[in-house]
C-alpha cells in the first residue's frame, strides 16, 4: 500500500492564531452582511438554524492560497440529489435532514469494526481546516475551507485487514429526511438510492482525503452533507459522498450510484482530468464561482504533485 507523506512546511508558515482568528471574524461578518442583504430567495427560504462554531487549526500545508468562495454561494448552489436535482433544492429543502442523533458504522474487512456516535467521531482526532478547490463534473468550481481530519486516521484506528482493497461510503437512506428519495411519477427516481460512492484503499488513505464535519468555521450545513461527509479534492465533486452513515472496507470495487445511472458519463475513478471530456461536454475549462471568465482545468484539480503517482501506469482515458 502506498502512503504519501504530507508536504512539509516550516513552522514560520503557520498562520499566527490572532491573524487567523481575525480572518474568522471577517468571514462571519461577511456572512452576517450577506444574511442581511435583501434578496428574494433569502426571503422565500426557510430560516436556517444557526450553526455551531467549530474551532480548528488551519493546516497551511494542505491549503490553497486563494480566496474562499462566498459562503452564500457555497450554501445555495449545491448538487445533493437526495433533496432534488436543482441547485437550490438542497438549501430550500435541507431543513428536513436531522444531523443528530447520528451514527457512522465502520465495518467490513477491518479488525475492529465499530459504530461511532457522531459526537464521539468528531472528537477522535484533532480538527484541521483545509482550503481545497472543489471541481464539479459540471465544469464549475469553488474554493472551500473545510474542517475535518484525514480519513486515514479513522481507517487506521479500525485496522483494515489484508482483504480490504476498496472503501465504500453509503449516504443515509430515509425518504422522510431526503424528499427526493420518495419515488415520483411512475416510480421515477433520479438515482438508485441509497447513494453509494467508493475509493480504492490507497486513495482513501491518502492524506488529502478528508473526513469532513465542518466548513467556513462552523459545522456542515445540511445542504453541504451534514453531519459528516468526505472530501476528495482531486476528484469530481460527486465522488465526495455526503451525510455518510456507513464506511465499509470491501475487497471488490463498489458499484457507485452514478456508475449505475450513467456508466459512460461517471466512471469509478472520476479524477479531474482536462484531457478526458465528459461525453456531453468539455472538461478542459471551468467557471470558478464568482469569476466571469472561464479558467483552465488542471490535471487532478491542481493536486497532481501529490496524487498522480497513485495512478502510475494506468490509462486514465480508460479508467476515467
Amino acid at each position: 500500500m502506498l502512503i504519501r507523506r504530507a508536504p512539509r512546511f516550516a513552522a514560520s508558515e503557520i498562520t499566527d492564531p490572532t491573524l487567523y482568528l481575525s480572518r474568522r471574524e471577517l468571514i462571519s461578518g461577511a456572512a452576517a452582511a450577506l444574511a442581511l442583504a435583501p434578496s428574494l430567495s433569502a426571503a422565500a427560504a426557510p430560516a436556517t438554524p444557526a450553526l455551531a462554531a467549530l474551532p480548528a487549526t488551519r493546516n497551511p500545508g494542505f491549503s490553497l492560497n486563494e480566496p474562499a468562495t462566498k459562503l452564500e454561494a457555497a450554501t445555495t448552489y449545491n448538487n445533493f440529489y437526495e433533496f432534488g436535482v436543482n441547485k437550490d433544492d438542497p438549501s430550500r429543502l435541507g431543513h428536513t435532514l436531522r444531523p443528530r442523533p447520528w451514527t457512522v458504522q465502520v465495518e467490513g474487512f477491518v479488525s475492529k469494526p465499530k459504530t461511532f456516535d457522531i459526537d464521539e467521531l468528531i472528537k477522535l482526532f484533532p480538527l484541521e481546516e483545509r482550503v481545497y478547490s472543489l471541481r464539479c463534473v459540471e465544469a464549475w468550481s469553488m474554493v472551500i475551507p473545510w474542517i475535518g481530519f484525514p480519513l486515514a486516521s479513522l481507517l487506521k484506528r479500525v485496522e483494515p485487514t489484508g482483504q480490504a482493497k476498496f472503501v465504500e461510503f453509503t449516504t443515509l437512506l430515509d425518504p422522510n429526511q431526503f424528499p427526493a428519495q420518495k419515488p415520483g411519477f411512475f416510480g421515477f427516481a433520479s438515482l438508485d438510492w441509497p447513494y453509494v460512492e467508493g475509493l480504492r484503499l490507497d486513495e482513501a488513505m491518502h492524506p488529502l482525503t478528508l473526513l469532513t464535519i465542518g466548513m467556513y468555521g462552523k459545522v456542515l450545513p445540511n445542504q453541504n452533507g451534514a453531519p459528516v461527509r468526505v472530501v476528495i479534492p482531486w476528484k469530481y465533486g460527486f465522488k465526495s459522498a455526503k451525510s455518510i452513515v456507513r464506511i465499509r472496507l470491501v475487497s471488490e470495487q463498489p458499484r457507485t450510484a452514478w456508475e449505475k445511472a450513467a456508466p459512460s458519463e461517471y466512471g469509478f475513478y472520476s479524477n479531474v482530468n482536462p484531457a478526458v471530456n465528459h461525453p456531453r461536454w468539455s472538461q478542459a475549462d471551468e467557471r470558478r464561482i464568482g469569476e466571469f471568465r472561464r479558467r483552465a482545468t488542471l490535471p487532478f484539480n491542481g493536486y497532481a504533485d501529490q496524487v498522480a503517482s497513485l495512478y502510475a501506469g494506468m490509462d486514465l482515458k480508460k479508467y476515467y
Binding site: 434578496s39 440529489y81 461536454w281 468539455s282
Partner: protein, 220 residues
C-alpha cells in the same frame, strides 16, 4: 374578431413574453441571479424560448381541436418572440459564457450533439423571422410561405432534442416539453390524415363536388 379584441390579445402576448426579461433585469439589478449568474440567465432564456416556440405551435391545434379562430392571430407574434429569445440565449452563450472564443464554440458545435441541435433550431428560425412581414408573405405567395414555415416544426424538434440531450440524469423538464411537442405534432398528424382521407373519398365519389383543401391564409 374586433380590432379591440385583437389588440387586447396581442398586448397580453407582449406582456407575458416581456415579463421574463423584466424579471431577469430586476434580478440582475438586485444581484439576485444566484451563485452562477451566467448559467442562470442562459437556462432561463432557453426555457422561455422553448415555451414560447411551443406556444406558437399550439395556435393551429387550438383551432383544429376547439374550432377557435383567434389563436391564429397570435401565431406570428409568438414566433417572433421565440426568435428574440433564442437570439438572446445564443448571445449569452457566445458572449458571457465563452467570451467570443469562436474556435472553442465551433469545436463544441461540431462535437456535442446537443449544441448542434441548438444551433440548428436557431438557424431554422432565421428564415421564418426574415419572411414574417406581410410584404414577404405576399411576395412568396401563401402556398410557398406555408411550406417554408413548416421549418417551425424542425426548429421545435431540434430545440426539444437540444434540451433532452443536455439535461443530466434525473431532470424531468425536457420530457414535459417533449410530451407537449408530441401532442402538438399529433394533432397536426391527425388533421393531415383526415384531409388525406377526405381527398381520397372525393376521388372515389366523382359525383360529389370536389373540394380542394384551401391553402391556409397566413394572415387570417
Amino acid at each position: 374578431m374586433t380590432r379591440r379584441a385583437r389588440i387586447t390579445l396581442k398586448s397580453g402576448v407582449w406582456a407575458v413574453c416581456l415579463a421574463p426579461l423584466a424579471l431577469l433585469a430586476y434580478r440582475a439589478w438586485t444581484d439576485d441571479l444566484g451563485a452562477n449568474p451566467i448559467s442562470f440567465i442562459t437556462n432561463t432564456l432557453g426555457d422561455w424560448t422553448l415555451r414560447i416556440l411551443l406556444a406558437s405551435l399550439a395556435m393551429t391545434p387550438l383551432r383544429v381541436v376547439f374550432g377557435l379562430a383567434w389563436p391564429i392571430t397570435l401565431r406570428r407574434l409568438l414566433g417572433l418572440f421565440a426568435f428574440v429569445f433564442v437570439c438572446l440565449h445564443f448571445a449569452v452563450w457566445s458572449v458571457l459564457d465563452f467570451f467570443f472564443d469562436w474556435p472553442r464554440m465551433w469545436a463544441d458545435i461540431v462535437k456535442r450533439p446537443y449544441i448542434t441541435m441548438g444551433l440548428l433550431a436557431l438557424l431554422s428560425l432565421i428564415p421564418l423571422a426574415a419572411t414574417s412581414t406581410t410584404g414577404m408573405i405576399r411576395r412568396l405567395g401563401a402556398r410557398n410561405w406555408t411550406r417554408l414555415h413548416r421549418l417551425a416544426y424542425v426548429a421545435a424538434v431540434c430545440a426539444v432534442l437540444h434540451y433532452l440531450w443536455l439535461a443530466k440524469v434525473g431532470v424531468k423538464d425536457p420530457y414535459w416539453y417533449a410530451a407537449a411537442l408530441v401532442v402538438l405534432l399529433g394533432v397536426r398528424g391527425w388533421e393531415w390524415g383526415r384531409r388525406l382521407m377526405r381527398r381520397r373519398r372525393a376521388r372515389l365519389e366523382p359525383t360529389s363536388a370536389r373540394v380542394r383543401p384551401q391553402a391556409e391564409n397566413p394572415l387570417s
